[in-house]
Amino acid sequence: MLAALCLQTTEEESERRRRELDQLLLQVGQGDREAFARLYSLTRGAVYALALSLLQDTHEAQDVAQDTFVRVWERGPSYRSQGSPMAWLLTVARNLAWSRLRHSGRQVEVGEEAWNALPASMPEVSPEDRVVLQEGLASLGAEERRIILLHAVTGLKHREIAALLEQPLSTVLSKYHRGLKKLKSLMKGENEP
C-alpha cells in the first residue's frame, strides 16, 4: 500500500512538473525573463547531464548547456504545448551536442574515453559526490552511464530515453538495470568499513 502510495505521489509530482515546465516554456515564448530564470533553475542539471554524458567533457558540456538555453530563448515563440517539454528541451540539447561532435571531428558515439565529471573550476567537491559522480560512473560503460544519468537527473521515462538516444527500449532497459547493479555494488563496497 505504501509502495502504491509512493508511486502515485511520484506520478503526481511528475505530472505537476511537466505542467510547470510546459507553462514556463510558453511564458518564455512571450519574452518572460523570470520564467526563463525559473526554467533554467529547474532544468539546468538535466541539460548539463545529457550534454556531459554525450560529450564526456565538462567544458564542452557547459558550452552546449549554455547554447541550449540561448536557443530555447531565441526560438521560444515557436514552442507549442505537447507531450513532454523536458524531452523537447533535451532534444535541442542532444542535437547541439551531436552537432558539436561532428564539427570537432570526433565520433558521434564517444567510446570508452576517460570519464571526467568534475569541473576543474570546482576543486571543492564533497567526497561523497566525488565517489558517486566520478568513481561510480567511471566504472560503467558510456551507454550505461548515459542512460542512468538521464533517468536519474531528467525524470524521463525509459521509453523517452530510448527515443532521445535512438536506441531500442530493450537495450535501454537492460543497460539501465545492468549499470545500476554495477553502481550499487560499487557504492556498497565504498560504504563498507
Binding site: 506520478e11 515564448g29 526563463f36 530564470a37 533554467y40 539546468r44 542539471g45 548539463y48 557547459q62 548547456a65 549554455q66 540561448v70 531565441e74 526560438r75 521560444g76 515563440p77 515557436s78 514552442y79 507549442r80 505537447q82 507531450g83 513532454s84 524531452a87 523537447w88 535541442v92 542535437n95 551531436w98 552537432s99 565529471a117 568534475l118 569541473p119 570546482m122 567537491v125 564533497s126 561523497e128 559526490d129 558517486v132 559522480l133 561510480g136 542512468i148 544519468l149 533517468h151 536519474a152 537527473v153 521509453r159 523517452e160 527515443a163 532521445l164 535512438e166 527500449l169 530493450s170 532497459l173 537492460s174 538495470h177 545492468r178 545500476l180 553502481l183 550499487k184 557504492m187 556498497k188
Partner: protein, 535 residues
Amino acid sequence: MTDRELELKLAAALERTAPDDFEAILSRCGVQNGSVTELKELVQDQKVIDVEAVEVKPKKRLNRWLAAACAALVLAGAGGGGLIYHQSYAVASVVSLDVNPSIELKVNRAEGVISCTALNTEAAAVLFDMNGGADLKGTKLDVAVNAIVGALVREGYLDSISSAILISVEDNDQERAQRLQAELVASVDGVLQAQAPGTSVLSQVLDADAPALEYMTFDSGLSTGKSALVQKVMEMNGTLALNSTDAFDKLAALSVEELNDLLKAGEKRIPIGKAAAATAAEEYAGTLAMNSVTTDVDPELDENPPHYEVELKTVWGEFEYIVDAFTGEVLRGQKDLLNQSPAGQDSPVNPAPPPAAENNVWQDPGNSDTISGTVIDQETAKKAALDNAGLSESDVTDWKVEREWDDGRLEYEIEFWCGTTEYDCTVDGHTGAILKCGIDHHGNSGSGHHSDSHHSGAGTSTNTATSADIGQEAAKAAALAHAGVTESQAVKLKVERDWDDGRLEYEVKFEVGRMEYEYTIDGATGAILEYEWDD
C-alpha cells in the same frame, strides 16, 4: 540502498556540480524570433521519422487538408490542369498500418500513393529496402500495402501465432473509406493466408473531420489509427475519463497484438510490455550481461493468467519463460542459466549443453531440420494431434501451427477447429508425443465456453474430459481451509488446472508470511491428494 535512493544521490551530486551561469546565458540572449516556426526547424538533425512524430498530428492534418483543398481550388480556377493536379496530389485518404511498426500512406482519389512514411524506428527498418518508402510513391495503394505486409512478414513481425495487424482508413468520405477498408482487408488477408496464417487482421474507418485526439505525445510515433485503438482500450479500462496521459503513454507503447488482447479479454490493467518482460526473463535467467542472447516475446494477455512467453536464444539452446503480464514475475522457466552451463561464458567456442538438454538438440535449435532423425516435421506433428483427437484432416479447419523451443527441446503448438470445438495441442517435436491438449467448446449452451485440458506422459493420452469438475474456486477454498488461512492472508496465490494419468487435478500454491504452501486437489471430488508446507 534502493535504486531510487541511489538515483536521488546521483541527481543531487550532479545538480551541485552543474555550472550555474545564467547571467552569461542572459547576456547572449537577444531579441526573440517572432515568427512561428515548426518544431522540426528547431529540432535540427532530427530524422524524418521523428519529425513526423513530433508534430501535433490532428492540427497538422487539418492544415494539410486545407492546403490541399486551397491548392485544388486555385488550380481548378486557373484551367483544366487544376483538376489533374487535384486528382494526382490532393490527399483523399490516409491509410495506416500498425503492428508495432507504424506506417502511414497518403493516397489520392485514384488510390495512388502520394507518400509513405515510417512513423517509428521499427517502421523505418521495415521500409529500408523500399528506399524508406519512397519507392512506393506513385504505386497503387493495394500494391503498396501488399509490399509492406510482405516486408513485415520477412522482418518477423507477424510470425507469432497470435500476431495482429491494424489497418485504419481515414477519410472524410466515409463511403470511400469503407470501400477501401474492405478491399484492403481482403487483400491483406489473402497475403497473410499464404505467409502468416496465424495473424489477425483488424480494421477501422476513421473520420478525418472528427475532433482531434487528445493524447498526441511528443515522441509517440503513433499513427492516428493506433491512437484510436489506444483510446478504445482507455474507454474500456476507464482511464479515458481520467484524462490520463500516463495511461495513454503506456498503452501507446504496446503492440497492436497486445492492445487487441486487452480489448478481447476486457482486461483493465496495463501490462508491462514486451521489452520489460524480456528484461525480467533475462534477469531471472542471469543473461542480462550477455550480448549474444536474443529474445523473442509473444504476449498472451487474453489467457489466464495473462502472461508473456519469452524465448531466450542462447548459444547453447533456446529457453522459454512465462512472465506475469502485470507484475513481471517469472512464473516458469529455468533460473540462472550460466550456473547450469559448464561453459559459463558469453560465446563459448564449443559450449557444453546444459544438463537438461540432449546433445543432438541444443546445438542447432534454429535449424533442426538438418539434424536427421532427431525431429519430426510439421505434417507428422499435425497427424499426431489429429490422431489424439480422433479426427481426420477433412474434419478440421483453421490450422495454426507454430514451432517453439522450450528448454532446448522442439515443440509444435498446434491449434485447429472441428465445428465449434477448438483444439490446442502441444506435440513433442522429437517423439511426436502429445505433451498437452486443451479443448474449448464454443457452443451456444450455458456460458458458451467450457475448457478441458489434459497432460499426457508418453503420448498415449486419450481425451478423457470429465463432467465432474469442482472448479478453481472450490479447489482454492479446499486448500485454504486445510491450511487454516483466509484468502486475504495468502499472497502469490496460484491455481493451476492439470491432468495426471487421466485424473483432473488442481495445483494450489500460496504463501503466508515466510511459509509456502503447495496443494494437489482432486478436481472431481475436492479431496486433498498431496500437500507440502515449507518454512
